[in-house]
């Protein structure tokens, strides 16, 4: 009931959990039946892992230990690992919510068949949001396991960081879906790819934000991955404080707003 009402407010349409689940279930069928797809999904977390190894060891050996506010000091690798966790969550979510979703929407006409059933466009949007989030969760879960194995995070801190990663997945899935409804053709994804890379390298990932000049710092503070990085870092390295709350709210608001845009634009496109 709560979910249905929430759906009405966010999506402006009926959202029934059983239908959302059915949309997500279709995508999960793919994972289960096509083994190669499963590996494709998991291979997605390889990129942040390579950065962790190459930059972590490489640059890490030059910069030495990083002092934290509470007086502790950590390795450079431990400093960038939470940021790469946030990045893998973003990458996983966007991989599904942009290109794959766009293909289903525009070329495969997949939703034309789904919408001949009682399922509504808003329910399709929610279902795909869940699926993109699951893919992001697979990326970030796998990355967290690597962090634990490398001793970069304690299992308890990893457990705390996972919900933060999930929130990042949700927010970026919603953004990806909303963005895809505006895309004219494949070439538009070239631009979004550049933006995604810029977010990755500038969100306080490899250096603390304080090294940037003031205007750049403000700009970065307005972008979503920065808040994700801050949140995963607070969860794993501390401290959790009022700015963490701001990060949390930022991602929540982004998720709701982007979902609302995606659901409404889906309806406009598909119910003509």
């Amino acid at each position: 009931m709560v979910a249905v009402m929430l759906g009405r407010v966010v999506a402006g349409d009926v959202v029934r959990p059983a239908h959302v689940g059915a949309v997500t279930a279709r995508d999960l069928t793919l994972i289960r039946s096509a083994g190669s797809y499963f590996w494709l999904v998991l291979s997605g977390f390889a990129e942040p892992l390579l950065y962790l190894l190459a930059v972590g060891w490489g640059v890490g050996s030059l910069v030495g230990a990083i002092p934290l506010e509470d007086g502790r000091s950590i390795s450079y690798q431990a400093f960038i690992a939470p940021a790469l966790l946030a990045t893998s969550a973003m990458n996983g979510a966007l991989a599904e919510a942009t290109i794959n979703f766009f293909a289903k929407l525009r070329y495969l006409k997949h939703y034309d068949s789904v919408l001949n059933t009682p399922v509504t466009p808003a329910e399709v949007a929610f279902g795909e949001l869940m699926w993109a989030t699951i893919r992001g969760a697979l990326y970030s879960g796998a990355f967290l396991l690597v962090m634990i194995m490398m001793g970069l995070v304690t299992p308890w801190a990893a457990l705390a960081a996972f919900p933060a990663a999930l929130l990042i997945c949700l927010a970026f899935s919603a953004v990806g879906l909303a963005m895809s409804t505006f895309m004219r053709d494949w070439s538009d994804f070239e631009y979004s790819g550049v933006v995604q890379f810029a977010l990755f390298v500038f969100s306080g990932t490899f250096v603390p934000l304080s090294v940037f000049p003031e205007p750049a710092r403000i700009l970065v503070e307005l972008t979503p991955l920065y808040h994700g990085v801050e949140l995963t870092r607070a969860m794993t390295l501390g401290p959790l404080d009022s700015t963490s709350l701001v990060n949390l709210l930022y991602l929540l608001v982004l998720m709701v707003a982007a979902t609302a845009v995606a659901a409404r634009r889906m309806r406009r496109r598909l119910r003509r």
Partner: protein
């Protein structure tokens, strides 16, 4: 589900046969400046096979999509199963089966998975979905391809699978948009056979087509659409009787100008129609008038006397043939 394998001719939905299930009054669909459907009236009754006949662009698909509650009407009134297609669209769609003009099967899934995943959109339990999927695959003769991906299936197989998918929720009305377009004759006959079985079971069929044979064989009643309007509606035989003579004489001429030949034919039969490749002479007795053609000094290279059909009705009402060359 009353079951695809259940006893035929039993109506499983409690709707009395003959009850109106779709009612359109002054129904309009516009896309920007284009008026795709321009004020149509029709009533479809439970248990009948109702056809929309018209050439490409006549507005058939637009009408079907409004009935299917996926495209809101721009004007006029429409009720489907007694409900409003916009406000109560989801409840209506739960009771419809849809076979769209272009197959939009899930190419990444197997034939069977296409049916089982689709079943979940109707909240059919997994076990029930599997049972129905197997029943339906047998019904459309695809049980040996159940585990095959959809991509390599032939056009006819894909169409049959789409029809099976449209039946997964045991629908009361099945909408079929050009169910046999692009199929070879054999595949087409298999589809017709299945559709005929559905009709015998009391399922209401609504189909669009531009094949005369299909319309004449399957449809109890049909409307002829042209330019977004309905130009005639009735039973196929009644339409032919009302708008056409019993027989048609087709005349082909080698090199002559068709218009001038037509002039010479004035007065023979009830009227003459000039097509790019032949002349049509309408009459109740073809054999009786063929000699008159020769008496007027014409030497056709080919003469064919045949019974009149829907194609002739269409030509008469719209001035054009139905299937473009």
């Amino acid at each position: 589900m009353t079951g695809i394998s259940a006893t035929p001719a039993v109506h499983g939905h409690g709707l009395a046969t003959g009850e109106p299930v779709v009612r359109a009054r002054s129904l309009v669909k516009r896309f920007g400046d284009i008026t795709a459907v321009d004020g149509v009236d029709f009533t479809i009754r439970s248990g009948e096979a109702f056809g929309f006949l018209g050439r490409n662009g006549a507005g058939k698909t637009s009408t079907m999509r409004m009935i299917g509650c996926v495209s809101p009407p721009s004007d006029g009134r429409l009720t489907v199963l007694g409900m409003d297609p916009v406000r109560e669209g989801a409840s209506v769609r739960a009771r419809l089966g849809v076979c769209p003009q272009e197959d939009n099967l899930d190419l990444e899934l197997t034939a069977r998975q296409n049916l089982t995943t689709y079943a979940r959109y109707f909240r059919i339990t997994r076990a029930e979905a599997r049972r129905r999927a197997d029943d339906l695959l047998r019904f459309v003769q695809l049980d040996d391809r159940a585990a095959s991906k959809v991509e390599p299936l032939s056009g006819g197989m894909k169409r049959r699978l789409t029809i099976a998918r449209a039946l997964i929720n045991d629908p009361e009305i099945v909408l079929l948009d050009e169910p046999t377009t692009g199929l070879d004759p054999q595949a087409r006959h298999l589809v017709w056979e299945r559709l005929f079985q559905l009709k015998q079971r009391g399922i209401t069929l609504v189909l669009t087509t531009h094949y005369m044979e299909e319309a004449e064989q399957l449809c109890d009643r049909l409307v002829i659409m042209d330019g977004g309007r309905i130009v005639a509606q009735d039973a196929p035989r009644a339409l032919i009787d009302a708008h056409c003579t019993k027989e048609v004489v087709e005349l082909r001429f080698a090199a002559e100008d068709h218009e001038s030949c037509a002039d010479k034919l004035v007065g023979i039969g009830s009227h003459v129609e000039v097509l790019p490749d032949r002349l049509l002479l309408y009459t109740d007795d073809g054999d009786a008038i063929v000699p008159t053609v020769y008496e007027r000094g014409l030497r056709p290279s080919g003469v064919l006397v045949r019974r009149s059909g829907l194609e002739d009705v269409f030509l008469h009402l719209t001035g054009r043939t139905l299937v473009e060359a």
